[in-house]
Every structure is written in C-alpha cells, then in structure tokens.
C-alpha cells in the first residue's frame, strides 16, 4: 500500500524546473526546426578548418572533416530525441499489454507470461538489441526497435507488480461491488493508480533510451553516417578525447543535460499528478 502513495515533495528547486524547461524547449525546437537555431548544414565539410577548438565562430569546435559540431548536435536532436521517445513508447506499449494481461487474466496466463518475461528478461537488453540488429541491420528504425524491445520486459514486470499491488488494495473490489464494469475499473482505477508511479520510470526511460541508443552507436551498430545522432557523435569523438576533447566531452554534456532535464520535468509532473489525485 505504501508503494502507492505518491510523494508530494518537490525535489528540485523552481529554478531547476525552469532551466529544465528551457533545455527541453531548446531540444524540441532543434528537433522540429533546426534551421531556426543554426544556419549551416550539419554535413557541410571544410577541410581547411578541421579539429578547431571551440570559438565564437564554432561554439562547440569542429571535427576532423571541418564540420561544425554545434550544428551537428542541433541537427542530431531529431534522431536522438526520436529514438528516446520512440523506444520508450514502444517499450511501454509492449509492457502495458503484457503487464496488465499477466496481472488480470488469471493464474495460468499470468504464470505463462511471467515465464516468458523471465526468458526475455534473461536476455540482457543489449544482447536482445544486438540480435535485432544482426537480423535487421543497423538503422534508425532498428535502433528504436532494439532499444524498445530490449527495455520492455523490465517495464512489463514492474507494471505487473504494480497492477497486482493495486488490486490488493481494497478499493478496486469496492468499485467492483458498486457495480462498475471491469473495463471501467481498469480504466478509471487500476490504470491510473498502477501507472502513476511509473511516470518517473517512463521519463527516466526516455533518458535511458537515448543513452542506450548511444551505446549501440558506440558498438558501431547505430544510425548510419553521416547522421549526427548524439551517440554517433560520442563514438566519433572517442579517438580524439586526448587530443581534441570537445568532440567527446561536449556531446556527452548535451546528452547528460537533456536526460537530467527530461527526468526532472517528469518528476515535477509526477508530483503535480500525485497532488491532483488526492
């Protein structure tokens, strides 16, 4: 029962929320209309100004093809955010289906799904992703599918657990006793109560998915070049870390900033939701 009550405490100071909003707004803008934020093309090469340190002209410096790193980061937002949102959405769709079915469809189905989840869970997410990529070949869609499928079993187990826990609470039976149909009970009571604690998990999931996708890029299995998906930038910058630090550090900082912002906004949202439910 105690796992249900949602905390009201606001963790981050208001300033933090505002900053997070700014970062997320910037990234969303970058994803939707990158042209508003930067002029040039992310693939425009300039072999005369390669590996330049950050400067006024190139705030994030340039890479070994003379491409402007800031432009690349801005243009990479669409793919990175897309992978993060897409993969988390995919994971939750799969997880909700499996989790609710397992928790509500009776003992035999539950046992079966739980076992299947154990099989899936036994696959380390990265191996699952590797297998998906081995079958389909690396691409944007594969990255989304790989990360989504890879993280679904974990969410499904959490959801099943939450649904079971909510079911244990008396008020569901009470609602049923009052004559509400099963579907109504699920929609109005079970779903919101079971899912609310998972809002944090979901928002964290977006950040985690971006991170996972970058891991695939790191293993050379991410989005095809010349994409400037952030993980691909990190992968490309790796060799340069001791000589041209900005290529590895700055995209990393961007990923971390975005992930923190998304997470903190998610938590704020969660707190608001928690408050509203009372």
């Amino acid at each position: 029962m105690s796992t249900l009550t949602v905390t009201r405490a606001v963790h981050l100071p208001k300033v933090g929320t505002v900053l997070s909003l700014l970062v997320v707004a910037f990234v969303v803008a970058a994803a939707l209309v990158p042209g508003l934020l930067v002029d040039g093309s992310p693939t425009a090469i300039d072999l005369k100004s390669t590996l330049e340190a950050p400067s006024w002209a190139h705030p994030f410096g340039t890479d070994d093809a003379g491409r402007d790193l800031f432009t690349r980061v801005v243009h990479g937002a669409r793919e990175s955010l897309g992978i993060g949102l897409g993969a988390t959405a995919l994971a939750f769709v799969i997880a909700i289906g499996l989790g609710f079915t397992a928790a509500l469809a009776g003992r035999v189905v539950d046992a079966a799904i739980t076992r299947v989840l154990e099989v899936a869970f036994a696959f380390p997410a990265l191996l699952l992703a590797l297998l998906v990529i081995a079958v389909r070949g690396p691409s944007l869609a594969t990255s989304i599918a790989a990360v989504g499928i890879g993280s679904a079993p974990g969410y499904a187990r959490m959801i099943r657990g939450q649904v079971l826990a909510v079911r244990q609470a008396g008020f569901i039976e009470a609602a049923a006793a009052l004559g509400h149909g099963w579907f109504t009970v699920i929609r109005r009571h079970l779903f919101p109560n079971a899912m609310r604690p998972l809002v944090a998990v979901a928002t964290l999931g977006v950040g985690q998915s971006i991170v996972w996708a970058s891991a695939l890029s790191f293993l050379g299995l991410g989005v095809a070049p010349p994409s400037s998906e952030w993980g691909a930038l990190l992968d490309a910058g790796r060799l340069h870390i001791t000589t041209s630090w900005w290529l590895e550090i700055l995209p990393g900082v961007v990923i971390v900033l975005v992930a923190i912002s998304v997470t903190s906004l998610g938590r704020t949202l969660q707190n608001r939701l928690g408050g509203a439910a009372r």
């Binding site: 693939t43 990529i133 081995a134 070949g137 293993l219 010349p226 060799l239």
Partner: protein
C-alpha cells in the same frame, strides 16, 4: 655466466647491426643490450585460432611458425627453413633444400615429409584457404625427394610463387603434433619451429608467448643469430585505440599496433615509430559493373572524378596514411604502375560533363540527378568497425558530401561482420560500390580479384562483377612470365585496363603502424605482410 651471455649477445647484435647499417629503420639497434625481459605488445583483434588464412592470424602465427622462405627489404626472396632452391627450366618444379638439424618444438625434425604434408594440408585439406587461393589453380603437388629436399610441382609456370610463400599463411607446422593432438590444441598451441611457443592463451586478454630456447632456424633477414633475446612476449588484445596508445606512456606496454592517426605526430616525437604500407590490393572501391547506374562506364568515371579523394584521405587520417589512386594494387606492391594512379584527379566539372552526356541531366528536389525519373542513388556498403575504423568512416563521409555536390545521392550502408561475411551483400542487386583491401606481396593478387567469374568457375572475389577477357589474358600471361621486368610490364597493363574502365576506384593504402618504447630495440616488421618480429628485440639498460 650471466655476464658472458650478455657479452656474446652484444657481439651478436653488433655484428648484425653493422650489416643492417643502412639504418633508416627507426627501431634498429643501439644501446646496451640486456638479456631477458618480457615484451608487452598491444594488438587490436583477437583471432579465433593462432594460425589461419586471415591476416590477424598471420600476425601471431609468424611468431610461432617458420616459413620456407622470407622477403628481404629490397623485395628479394631469402632463405629461411630452406637454405636454397632451384627452379626447373620449364618453370614447373621448385626444389627446396632444407636447413639441417632444425626441430619443431615437439622434438620432431623439420624434414621434407613435414613440408610436403603442410602443402597438402593447405591446398587439399582446407588447412588454409588463403594459402590455397594464393597459388590456386597453379599448384599441383608437393613431395619429399629425400629427408632434406622437397619438390613443389605446378601445372603451369607461376613465378610469383616464391614471393607468395613468404606470407605468414605458409608457416610450417609439425605434422606429428597436428595429427596426434586435439583440434583445440592445434588451434591454440600450434607446434612450429619458430622463435616462440604459445605458453598460454588467456582468451579475451592475451596470448603469452615463451621463448624457444632451442631456436636454430632464424630467417636470413634476422637481426641477430640465436634464440630470442627476451624471455616472453605478452600479446595483448586492446581494441580501444585510446587505451592502446596511452598504455605506452604509462609503461604498461612496450609496443602497440595501429596507432590512432591523431596520435601519430605525438608518437613520432616520443617513441620509435614504424609505418608499413601493405602491398596487394589497397583499400579501393569495387564498382558493381553488372547492375545499377555503374553499368555505364561514364558514370563510374564521373564517380571517380567527382570527389577529392586525396584530400578526404588526408583529412580522415590526419595526413598519416597515403592516398592511393590505383585501385588495383598499392604503391608498395612490385609492378605498381604509378602512372595509372594519377588518373581521375579531382575534377568536378569533368564529372558533371560526363553525367550530362550519360543522360543524367535532370535534378530532383534534393538536387540529386535523375534519368528517366530515377534518382542517381548509389548504395555504398562498407564493413563498419572491422574494415573501416572511425577514421575511414570520416573519409567516406567527406566523399559523400562532395559527391552530393555533383548530383550523386550516396547512401552509406555500414555493414556488420555478420552481414558482410554472411553474404548479405554478395548479390549484385544489394550494392553499387564497396571498399575493401586484400594484402599480398605479389601483383598476382590481380588474378585473385579480377579473374572472370563464370558459371563453371565462379570467382566470388571479383566483387566488381567485372569479366574482361583481355584483362584476364594479360594477368595470366604476367603470372607465368619468368622475366620479372616483362611480368611487371604486363601487370602494369592490367592495372591500366582496370583503371581506364573504372572497374575499381582507388582510395587509400592499407597501413600498419607501430609505436615502440625507447628502451626496446630491434623490433622490426617482416616485409611480406608487416608482421612484427620480436625474436631479435632486446631491452636496453
């Protein structure tokens, strides 16, 4: 006792040092030699077995197995296990005389029977597919004449044989050990007569090589006579370039392979460095001449003219790795045609003109050229992470951007090992261009790569699907030409045919780079494939 060993050692080193006094080799001798010690070597890829037909295996099997012959700096073939050899007047029989008293590390003799067994194993028993393909279809049989004389027979004269036999794939193993042990033992600890033996293989980490104290069969190119000077070589697998290079500076390693090109200048100022340009087919594009836009030679030529390949290579590899305009063989290969390499210098105007003439006159909304409504899309498949490093991928991206300017829509398709080697991209419909390399010390590599593929005798290595009878005839003539000058002339013609028809497009030379700590001397690379040799190396005090 110890002091005496050191003195003898010093004398031996000095004697050979004066022989190789031309001394452009940066890792050459000097300093006060010290006996013993352990060399830690940072390599990149871990092979599945110590020996085999992949260059990664040749690197390490070179430490354990000796060959019949070896290649000297000047490109001549020198004695190793064979002290001398004779070629029959018809060019069909090679008779090798073996060095006396050489023993495998299992105690059995390195005799003619053993050598003949090895040839039979490579050529007829699937023992080493690269050794096989190198001398196929010329090879006929190997037989022992007496204990120290072995005869290799050919169907047609094949002068490149001697040079090809210097490759690590032709390392001689003990047949006795091979037949009496398990497959696993043979894979992990092959028995040869080399300067080192495999002591232990810690999978995922390192192979520990121990000195063979009874070593008597050093090659004529060795820098000292006698067994290895160091006690052990720890052959470590360090895939990450940053770690590999940095391990030198902390003293955790003494030699590293594949120095990241960004660090090359730094390496030159702090360590002894060796750069080896691999002979054979350079990293060049196979161009699909069977289907797609590249069936039209004009489009292939426009492709070649359309990008500043030289500048792209210089940028991607930070000026360390040389550009190679010759798609057929690299500048380190005997018989290299330097004139051919100059063709198709960057000329966007010419590229545009060729495409206009070929009918690719329209442009779509993305400024991609079209013909009959079809866009000029090129599927460029490359092995990501194993053939192309991050540096090579940068080169491709620079080229892609330049090709875009003249109206090519290049789709870069990174392929995993499983995909590329599993055959996902073998069918002509799956790609338009694919870059790769094939190291070989002889221009006869042309025959492997460009032999026409027929239904009866398919040639899966001809990835351009380019069947040219004239080319085929010229290469075959060259392969059997006993006069080296004439042969090279013919090989040069073959290169010109390939380049003129743009059946392949040059890119860069495959390089092996090494950095060696200052206190380790006499690490050198054998000439045939650039494998590091550690049996002459010594630490200075």
């Amino acid at each position: 006792m110890k002091a005496r060993t050191a003195a003898v050692l010093a004398a031996a080193v000095l004697a050979t040092a004066s022989l190789s006094a031309c001394g452009s080799d940066p890792a050459a001798g000097g300093g006060t030699p010290k006996a013993g010690g352990t060399i830690v070597y940072g390599h990149v890829q871990e092979p599945p077995c110590i020996f085999g037909g992949w260059i990664q295996q040749a690197y390490i099997s070179r430490q354990v197995l000796d060959g019949l012959v070896t290649l000297a700096e000047d490109g001549t073939v020198k004695p190793w296990l064979a002290t001398k050899w004779a070629v029959s007047p018809d060019g069909l029989k090679y008779t090798f005389t073996l060095k006396d008293g050489v023993k495998f590390t299992d105690g059995t003799p390195v005799d003619a029977e053993a050598v003949a067994w090895n040839f039979d194993y490579w050529e007829n028993k699937g023992g080493n597919s690269t050794a096989k393909v190198s001398i196929d279809p010329y090879y006929k049989a190997a037989k022992a004449i007496d204990a120290s004389t072995v005869e290799i027979e050919f169907n047609t004269p094949f002068p490149p044989f001697l040079t090809l036999a210097t490759q690590g794939y032709f390392g001689i193993q003990s047949p006795t050990a091979f037949k009496s042990r398990t497959e696993k033992e043979n894979c992990e600890k092959p028995i040869g007569s080399g300067g080192f033996t495999v002591k232990e293989w810690k999978h995922g980490e390192e192979v520990v090589l121990a000195k063979n104290p009874g070593y008597t069969s050093w090659p004529a190119t060795a820098k000292h006579e006698g067994p290895a000077i160091v006690d052990e070589v720890r052959w470590k697998f360090v895939a990450d370039g940053v770690s590999r290079y940095a391990s030198l500076s902390t003293g955790e390693s003494h030699v590293v392979y594949e120095v990241p090109t960004v660090n090359w200048k730094d390496a030159q100022s702090r360590y002894q460095t060796i750069r080896y340009i691999t002979p054979g087919k350079p990293v060049s594009f196979y161009i699909n001449t069977r289907t797609g836009p590249f069936t039209d030679a004009a489009v292939r030529k426009a492709f070649a003219y359309g990008a500043d390949r030289k500048s792209a290579v210089e940028a991607g590899f930070h000026g360390v790795i040389p550009y190679e305009g010759n798609p057929a063989v690299s500048q380190a290969t005997p018989g290299y045609n330097a004139e051919v390499a100059k063709a198709y210098a960057y000329d966007p105007a010419k590229a545009n003109q060729l495409l206009d003439e070929a009918g690719w006159t329209q442009r779509n909304a993305d400024k991609v050229r079209t013909k009959d409504g079809k866009p000029l899309t090129i599927k460029l498949v490359y092995g990501s992470g194993f053939i192309f490093t991050q540096e090579g991928a940068t080169v491709l991206q620079v080229l892609q951007e330049q090709w875009k300017q003249i109206g090519f829509d290049i789709k870069l398709i990174p392929a995993t090992q499983a995909e590329l080697w599993g055959g996902k991209y073998t069918d002509p419909s799956t790609f338009d261009a694919t870059p790769s390399y094939w190291t070989s010390p002889a221009p006869s590599i042309l025959w492997i790569v460009w032999r026409p593929s027929t239904t009866e005798k398919p040639n899966g290595s001809n990835r351009s699907f380019y069947n040219n009878e004239t080319l085929s005839a010229v290469i075959q003539q060259a392969n059997s030409e006993p006069d080296a000058t004439k042969a090279n002339d013919l090989y040069g013609q073959a290169q010109k045919i390939i380049q003129d028809d743009a059946a392949g497009i040059g890119l860069y030379t495959q390089n092996s780079t090494y950095a060696v700590a200052q206190n380790l001397k006499n690490v050198w690379l054998e000439k045939s494939q650039g494998e590091p040799v550690f049996s002459d190396a010594y630490f200075t005090g």
